[in-house]
Amino acid sequence: MNKFLGNKTAILLFILPALLLYSVMVFYPIVQTFFRSLYEWDGLTEGTFIWFDNYKRLFEDRLFFTSVYNGLIFALIITVTQIGIGTVLAFAVADMKFKGRRILRIAFFIPVVLSITVVCQLWLSIYNADYGLINRVFDMLGLSYRQDWLSSSKTAIIAIAFVNAWQYMGYHFALLLAGVKSVPEQYMEAARIDGATKLQAIWKINIPMMAETYKFCLVFAITGGLNAFANMFIMTSGGPGTSTYTLTYLMYRSAFRVGEFGYGSAAAAILVLECLLATLIINRFIARERLTY
């Protein structure tokens, strides 16, 4: 049996293609990102080693702070709306007795499977100042909120964040619904006998028992928000001005528009650290052990 499962040729044949491709296309670039962040590099020549000058420059760059700030705003908006609405919807659907459960689930989830380009183009038309859905609805209701949502540097980042929140709410809903269902019925039953209201039971029993699910949702939403790129690339190209820049956008522009690959790599390295920090904080503040009663 050991000979059968220890067949050297077979092992090499099975593992080498995956290991090789992964090492070259995924692992090597991770190392390169950190390494190249210490260089002044145009992507063509060898580049010059400049220690931490790229990082020094980042911390003096106003655009860097705009980018970090926008990443945080974006993460905050999508986290609150996706997890907040997702929670309410998941609990409501879980103890739904009326018809239409399947239709509701499909309705909530369908934007998740759309291409981000389609979603962003669609919302460009929805936000359109003259013919967009939102301004039309305001007009119809006789309200004077009509405005150009994406050309004001104050509202643009918020408007973009809501597009992402809209698209991926269904993802969090599906995760949370699975979480709600994994909590055994008898706990709720017991709480009911002890005289707890439904809301108390959810708050004190269900939600703490879903800590693992919430942890994943938080990590997913927050790192997703910090990484945001496609939404602003398609909808505003970082504008108006530089008001919707994020770290990834800064990296993209530095490397692929201006040709400063080292500077872009430094921005990418900061992004990794930011995501790592967020993940650590979430893990620190949400119980590591699964609650059992």
């Binding site: 296309m25 990590v219 992004l271």
Partner: protein, 280 residues
């Protein structure tokens, strides 16, 4: 039960909220489909919200024949299919060796592959773009297929690894006693057992590569190689006056994934949320 019924009676707001959110979630899409059948007059003036008065299929004909939508569509399909096949094959072979075969560094290799799951693509875009250029892959199908396959290995391996670990060792023992080779065992016995996991990953990888944007926008500039997410990007500029054709192109681009979802909704939700068990 009666308790829940009572809650329901006292709180009619909840079902209303559910249906209201369903409307918010779906109406923008319906609106897009509606205007893909309308002319500008109807979109902008006479009937901006409702279903089209007549179905103007000429918008679809225009999107399909006047512009490069068929090219983008075929590119997306080709890239997605090759990515699915390539990533599945590599991941299933690797995870079988890591989970079942006996060699010294199997645990280490498995962990090494898993690192890839925690790295956002954005972070390695710069070295990846340089690499694709240096390997002479720039502006070929390989520029997308090779990185897409590499990127899906980590996640698929993790899923398959779990499945392979749960199979009793007697399966291989009896195959060995019956004189099957290790390859025969792998292809005729192990693969059929993990079919459900394979199906899940087909859906997952297909949807991901069909919709992938960030890598595509950086690695592909040639018009004839663009996938749908890229091709549609430039529609807004081209068609600022022709919303109907734009809507039609976007509807065509969404059709495959929406169809897959509606037909296999349970599996798609499971496939896309399968990572939650481990990733956090």
């Amino acid at each position: 039960m009666t308790w829940i019924m009572r809650m329901r009676k006292s709180r009619p707001g909840l079902p209303i909220f559910l249906w209201l959110y369903a409307l918010i979630s779906v109406y923008p899409l319906l609106w897009m489909i509606f205007y893909s059948f309308k002319n500008n007059d109807e979109i902008f003036v006479t009937n901006p919200f409702g279903p089209p008065a007549t179905l103007r299929f000429e918008n679809y004909v225009a999107a399909w024949s006047n512009y490069d939508v068929p090219v983008y569509f075929m590119n997306s399909l080709l890239v997605a299919i090759v990515t699915v096949l390539g990533a599945l094959l590599l991941a299933v072979m690797f995870s079988y060796a890591a989970a079942r075969l006996r060699w010294r560094f199997s645990k280490l290799a498995h962990t090494y592959i898993l690192i890839g799951m925690f790295i956002p693509i954005q972070v390695i875009m710069i070295p990846l773009a340089i690499l694709v250029r240096d390997l002479n892959l720039a502006n070929t199908y390989g520029a997308l297929m090779v990185p897409y396959i590499a990127f899906n290995i980590s996640f698929a391996s993790m899923v398959f690894y779990g499945f392979f670990r749960s199979i009793p060792i007697e399966m291989e023992e009896s195959a060995c006693i019956d004189g099957a080779s290790i390859y025969r065992t792998f292809f005729s016995i192990m693969l059929p057992i993990i079919k459900p996991a394979l199906a899940t990953m087909v859906i997952f990888i297909f949807l991901n590569s069909w919709n992938e944007f960030t890598m595509a926008v950086i690695l592909i500039t040639k018009e004839s190689l663009k996938t749908l997410p890229l091709g549609l990007l430039f529609f807004q500029g081209q068609f600022t006056t022709d919303w109907g054709a734009m809507g039609a192109a976007m509807t065509i681009a969404s059709l495959p994934t929406v169809l897959i979802y509606v037909l296999f909704s349970e599996q798609v939700e499971n496939a896309l949320t399968v990572g939650s068990a481990v990733k956090g």
